[in-house]
C-alpha cells in the first residue's frame, strides 16, 4: 500500500527539553489512524508538526513525508500552498476556532480563494456545496451567518467545511469532538467517517478517548511522554495490548469503582417543583423581559446514604440545580429542603443547612485561591461551624482530612500550584468532607481529569463511601462515570427531568427517547480479551 503520510523518527525539542522523541507513524489514503494518550503525551504537538505550525522556538527533526515529499524541508511559502489544499486541520474548540467578525460563508470561501482555486462565484458555489455536505444546507443556515449565531456542533461543521473545501488528501483532526455533547459527538464522528469513505482522504485523528478510537479507527497509535509506545490495527491492538501503558489506559477507561451496597435510610433532601428563570436582556426598549427557564418543575428526593446521579448535556440545567441546592442562587418556584428545613430562608442561606451540604467543583485549577496554603484552603468550611476548632485541634482536623483523601498532613503547608490536577481534586474532596457534611454534591468533579487519574478519584469516592457512608449527588455528562459511581440516576434535558430510576436499569433499558439517544450515542469500549479485571493502582496520581 502506498503511504499518504509517513512520519519518520520525528523529534521536537524546546531548547534541551525534548517534547517528542522518535515518533514514526503512517497513514494510507482512506485510512483512519487514531493517535491517543493522556494530556501531555505529545499528541497535539505531533499534529501541529504535520501542519508545519509548531509554536515559535520549537525545532523539529526527522522527516514528515506527504506523498514522499518531506514537509520539514520546505520553505514557508510552499507550506502555505500545501496547507488547506493538501493537508487540512480541524481543531478542538469550535467556539474559538472561527473568526467572530466574519461570516461563515466568507471563511469557507477563503480556503478556496487563498489558493486561487476558483474565481469568486466558483468559490461561493463550492462553499455552498461543502456546507451542504457537512450538514449545513445554505437554505437553512445561510452563508451570511456569523459564528456566534451557530451552536458548537454547527461551528465544528463549519470548521470541517473549511478543511475539506479543496478536497485535501490528508485531514488532521485534533480532539474534534472533545468539546461537544455526546449526541453531537456521534454526528460529527459519523460525518468524518463518511468523508474518509467518500473522498478517500487519510485521517489522522487525535483523541484522548479510547472508546471513540475503538469505534472509529483502522489503526491506533498510543503515545506516552512524547513517544509512541504501541501501534497496530485496532482489533489487534485491543486483542493484544503488549505494552503495559495502553493496557493501563484501557483498564482505567472502563474502570468501575467498587461501591459498597446502598443503605438508604430516610429522606434527606427534598426538591419539589423547583423552577429557575434567568432574565434575558430586553430585545426592544419597552418589550417585556423574556426569561430562560433553566429548571422546569424539577422534583426528586435523596435518601440518607443514597448515591444519586444526574446526567444531561451541557446547558441542560445540571449546574443550575447544584447551585440551587447549595443555596447560592434563589429559585423562582418550588422548595428545596434538607431534613425539612429550606436551604434559602427568605433569600438568606440558613447556616444550619449550609454546613450539612458541601460541594466539589469541576475545575481543579480554578477552585482554589492561589494565594492561600492548602491547610487554610481545606479548613475554609470551618467558617460554618458555630464553634470551629482552633490551634492544634484545627491542624489535626486538616491532617485527618488530607490523610483521608490519600495525601499527607505536611501537604497543608504547600501552596496549591505545587499539586497536579488529580491531587487538587483530592484536596477539594478533603475540603468538602472536613466538616462531615450529610450531603456532598460532585459537580462534574472528574470531568477535567485524565482517565487514569479519574479512575483513582472514583476509587477514592467509593472508599470514602465505605468509610463514612456518604450521601451524594453526582453530576456528570459522562454516562460511564455515572454508571460506575451511583445507585440511582436522573436524566435531565432542557431543565426537565425526563427519566429516573436505578442506574443500571435506566442505562440498560432506557425508556425515554432522549435517554435512548444518549445511550446510543455514547461510544463504547470493546471487551478486553485475556481478562478485563480492572484495578487501577492506589498510588497518588
Amino acid at each position: 500500500m502506498t503511504e499518504l503520510l509517513e512520519i519518520e523518527s520525528l523529534g521536537v525539542a524546546a531548547g534541551t527539553h525534548r517534547i517528542l522523541r522518535n515518533v514514526s507513524l503512517r497513514v494510507a489514503p482512506g485510512e483512519i489512524l487514531a493517535l491517543t494518550g493522556e494530556s501531555g503525551s505529545g499528541k497535539s504537538m505531533t499534529a501541529l508538526a504535520v501542519m508545519g505550525l509548531l509554536p515559535q522556538g520549537l525545532a523539529a527533526r526527522g522527516a514528515i513525508r506527504l506523498d514522499g515529499r518531506d514537509l520539514l524541508g520546505l520553505a514557508e511559502p510552499q507550506l502555505c500552498d500545501i496547507r488547506g489544499r493538501e493537508v487540512a486541520m480541524i481543531f478542538q474548540e469550535p467556539m474559538t476556532a472561527l473568526n467572530p467578525v466574519q461570516t461563515i460563508g466568507a471563511q469557507v470561501m477563503e480556503t478556496i480563494r487563498v489558493h486561487g482555486a476558483a474565481p469568486r462565484a466558483g468559490a461561493e458555489a463550492r462553499a455552498r456545496e461543502v456546507l451542504e455536505r457537512v450538514g449545513l444546507p445554505p437554505d437553512r443556515v445561510p452563508l451570511t451567518r456569523y459564528p456566534h449565531e451557530l451552536s458548537g456542533g454547527q461551528r465544528q461543521r463549519v470548521v470541517i467545511a473549511m478543511a475539506i473545501a479543496l478536497r485535501p488528501r490528508l485531514l488532521v483532526a485534533d480532539e474534534p469532538t472533545t468539546a461537544l455533547d455526546v449526541t453531537t459527538q456521534a454526528q460529527i464522528l459519523e460525518l468524518l467517517r463518511g468523508l474518509v469513505r467518500d473522498e478517500g482522504m487519510g485521517l489522522l485523528m487525535i483523541t484522548h478517548d479510547l472508546a471513540v478510537v475503538a469505534g472509529m479507527a483502522d489503526r491506533i497509535a498510543v503515545m506516552q511522554e512524547g513517544e509512541v509506545v504501541e501501534q497496530g490495527p485496532t482489533a489487534d491492538l485491543f486483542a493484544q495490548m503488549r505494552h503495559p501503558y495502553p493496557r493501563r489506559l484501557f483498564e482505567a477507561s472502563r474502570h468501575r469503582a467498587a461501591l459498597p451496597p446502598p443503605a438508604p435510610d430516610g429522606r434527606l433532601l427534598r426538591v419539589e417543583e423547583v423552577r429557575r428563570d434567568y432574565p434575558l436582556p430586553r430585545r426592544a426598549l419597552f418589550a417585556p423581559r423574556a426569561a430562560h427557564r433553566a429548571l422546569d418543575d424539577v422534583s426528586f428526593d435523596i435518601a440518607r446514604g443514597e448515591r444519586l446521579g444526574l446526567v444531561g448535556e451541557s446547558g441542560c440545567g445540571k449546574s443550575t440545580l447544584a447551585r440551587a441546592i447549595l443555596g447560592l442562587e434563589p429559585v423562582q418556584g418550588g422548595t428545596i429542603t434538607l431534613d425539612g428545613r429550606p436551604v434559602l430562608d427568605h433569600g438568606r442561606p440558613d447556616p444550619e443547612v449550609r454546613r450539612r451540604v458541601q460541594v466539589v467543583f469541576q475545575d481543579p485549577y480554578g477552585s482554589f485561591n492561589p494565594r492561600h496554603r492548602v491547610g487554610r484552603l481545606v479548613a475554609e468550611p470551618f467558617h460554618l461551624l458555630p464553634d470551629p476548632p482552633r490551634g492544634a485541634a484545627r491542624e489535626a482536623a486538616v491532617a485527618d482530612a488530607l490523610t483521608a483523601v490519600g495525601l499527607r498532613p505536611e501537604h497543608a503547608e504547600s501552596h496549591i500550584h505545587a499539586f497536579s490536577g488529580g491531587q487538587r481534586q483530592r484536596i477539594a474532596i478533603a475540603r468538602a468532607l472536613i466538616i462531615r457534611p450529610e450531603l456532598v454534591i460532585f459537580d462534574e468533579a472528574v470531568s477535567a481529569l485524565d482517565v487514569s487519574v479519574r479512575a483513582r478519584i472514583l476509587d477514592l469516592i467509593a472508599e470514602l463511601s465505605r468509610q463514612y457512608g456518604l450521601t451524594y449527588l453526582f453530576i456528570s455528562h459522562d454516562l460511564g462515570v455515572v454508571r460506575s459511581i451511583t445507585d440511582r440516576v436522573l436524566v435531565m434535558r432542557s431543565g426537565e427531568i425526563v427519566e429516573r430510576g436505578a442506574t443500571e436499569e435506566v442505562f440498560d433499558n432506557p425508556g425515554h427517547w432522549y435517554t435512548k439517544s444518549l445511550v446510543a450515542a455514547a461510544p463504547v469500549l470493546p471487551p478486553l480479551e485475556g481478562g478485563g479485571k480492572t484495578d487501577a493502582g492506589h498510588d497518588i496520581p
Partner: protein, 314 residues
C-alpha cells in the same frame, strides 16, 4: 442595531444632563458675586443691582439653571460678563482653531500609530519590535508642551521652517494649516505612542487566538492571517482608546495653545478665569464635556460596526 443605538442615545442624554447640573452647581458655589466683582469694590449698590438684573443673576438658582440649559439647547450660551458679547459667538470663533487642531492631531496620531503598532506586532520580539517599543516608551513619557517647546526651538528658531506661534486665520488655508502643524505634531506624538502600544498588544493577543491558527491551517501566510483576521478584531480595544484620546487631545490642546499663542478655546478659558468671567468658563467646560460624551457615544456605535456580536443582543 436600532435598539442598541437607542439605548446608548438615552444614556448619552442622561450623562449630558447630569454633567450640566454638576458644572452649574460647582460654578454656583463660587464665592463672590460677578456683578460686584466686575464693577469693583466701590460700586454703587443700585448700579450693581441693575447689572445683576441685566446678567440674569436676580432670579432663583433653579430658574437660572433652566435658563442656561434651555439657552444652550437653542445655541444661546449667555452673555460674557466681561465683554458683554454673546458667549456662543466667542466660542464659535475659538472653535475654528481648537477643533481643527484636535482633529489634525488625532489624524496624525492614528497615521503614526497604526503602522508602528502593526509592524511591531508582526515582528514581535525581534529588533524592529524592540525599537518601536523603546520609541513609544519614550513618547509616552514626554510632556506634550515640553515637546512643543523643543519643536519651536528646533524648527522655528533654529531652522526657521515654521513660525514660533500665532495664527493667521483661515483666509489662507495653507498658512493656517502650516501654523497648526507644529502644535498638532506636539499633541499627536505622545498619543501616537500610547495608541501604537495598544495596537501592538491587542494584535498580539488576537494573533494568539485559535481562529488565527485556523486561518494558518487553511494556507494563509502569517502576514495574510494578520491582515485578514487579526486587524479587524484587534481594532475593538484600539477604538476605545481613540475615543478616550479625543478628550485628552481637546484638553491637551488647551495647554498647547498656550505654547503657540493660538487663539483657541484654551486662551479663551484662561482669560475668562483671570477675569472671573464664570459664564464663559461654565459654557466652555460644558462644551468640552459634550464633545467627550458624544465622541464616546460614537465609539460605542463604531464597536457595533466592527463587531457583529454587538448588533443583535440576544
Amino acid at each position: 442595531m436600532g435598539f442598541y443605538a437607542l439605548k446608548r442615545l438615552i444614556s448619552l442624554a442622561v450623562s449630558l444632563l447630569v454633567a450640566s447640573l454638576v458644572i452649574f452647581l460647582v460654578v454656583e458655589v463660587a464665592p463672590g458675586d460677578p456683578a460686584s466683582y466686575m464693577l469693583g469694590i466701590n460700586a454703587d449698590p443700585g448700579t450693581v443691582a441693575n447689572l445683576r438684573a441685566e446678567l440674569g443673576l436676580d432670579v432663583s438658582r433653579a430658574e437660572r439653571y433652566l435658563d442656561w440649559v434651555g439657552g444652550m439647547l437653542t445655541g444661546d450660551f449667555g452673555t460674557s460678563y466681561t465683554y458683554r458679547t454673546p458667549v456662543a459667538g466667542m466660542v464659535a470663533e475659538r472653535l475654528r482653531v481648537s477643533l481643527p487642531l484636535a482633529l489634525y492631531a488625532l489624524g496624525l496620531a492614528v497615521l503614526l500609530a497604526f503602522p508602528a503598532g502593526i509592524y511591531a506586532a508582526a515582528r514581535r520580539g525581534r529588533a524592529g519590535d524592540m525599537g518601536v517599543m523603546a520609541a513609544t516608551q519614550l513618547g509616552v513619557a514626554i510632556p506634550n508642551f515640553w515637546f512643543a517647546m523643543l519643536l519651536v526651538l528646533f524648527f522655528s528658531l533654529t531652522l526657521g521652517w515654521f513660525g514660533a506661534g500665532g495664527f493667521p486665520g483661515w483666509d489662507d488655508p495653507l498658512q493656517a494649516i502650516k501654523a497648526l502643524t507644529l502644535p498638532a505634531v506636539a499633541l499627536a506624538l505622545p498619543q501616537a505612542a500610547i495608541l501604537a502600544r495598544v495596537m501592538r498588544s491587542s494584535l498580539i493577543d488576537i494573533l494568539g487566538e485559535d481562529f488565527i491558527r485556523t486561518a494558518r491551517a487553511k494556507g494563509l501566510s502569517r502576514r495574510q492571517a494578520l491582515w485578514r483576521h487579526g486587524l479587524r478584531n484587534a481594532l475593538i480595544p484600539v477604538l476605545t482608546i481613540i475615543g478616550l484620546q479625543f478628550s485628552f487631545l481637546l484638553a491637551g490642546a488647551i495647554i498647547i495653545e498656550q505654547v503657540f499663542f493660538l487663539p483657541g478655546l484654551g486662551r479663551l478659558i484662561f482669560q475668562a478665569i483671570t477675569q472671573r468671567d464664570l459664564i464663559v468658563v461654565e459654557s466652555v467646560v460644558m462644551l468640552l464635556v459634550f464633545a467627550v460624551i458624544t465622541v464616546n457615544f460614537l465609539t460605542d456605535l463604531a464597536y457595533a460596526a466592527v463587531d457583529p456580536r454587538l448588533r443583535v443582543r440576544r
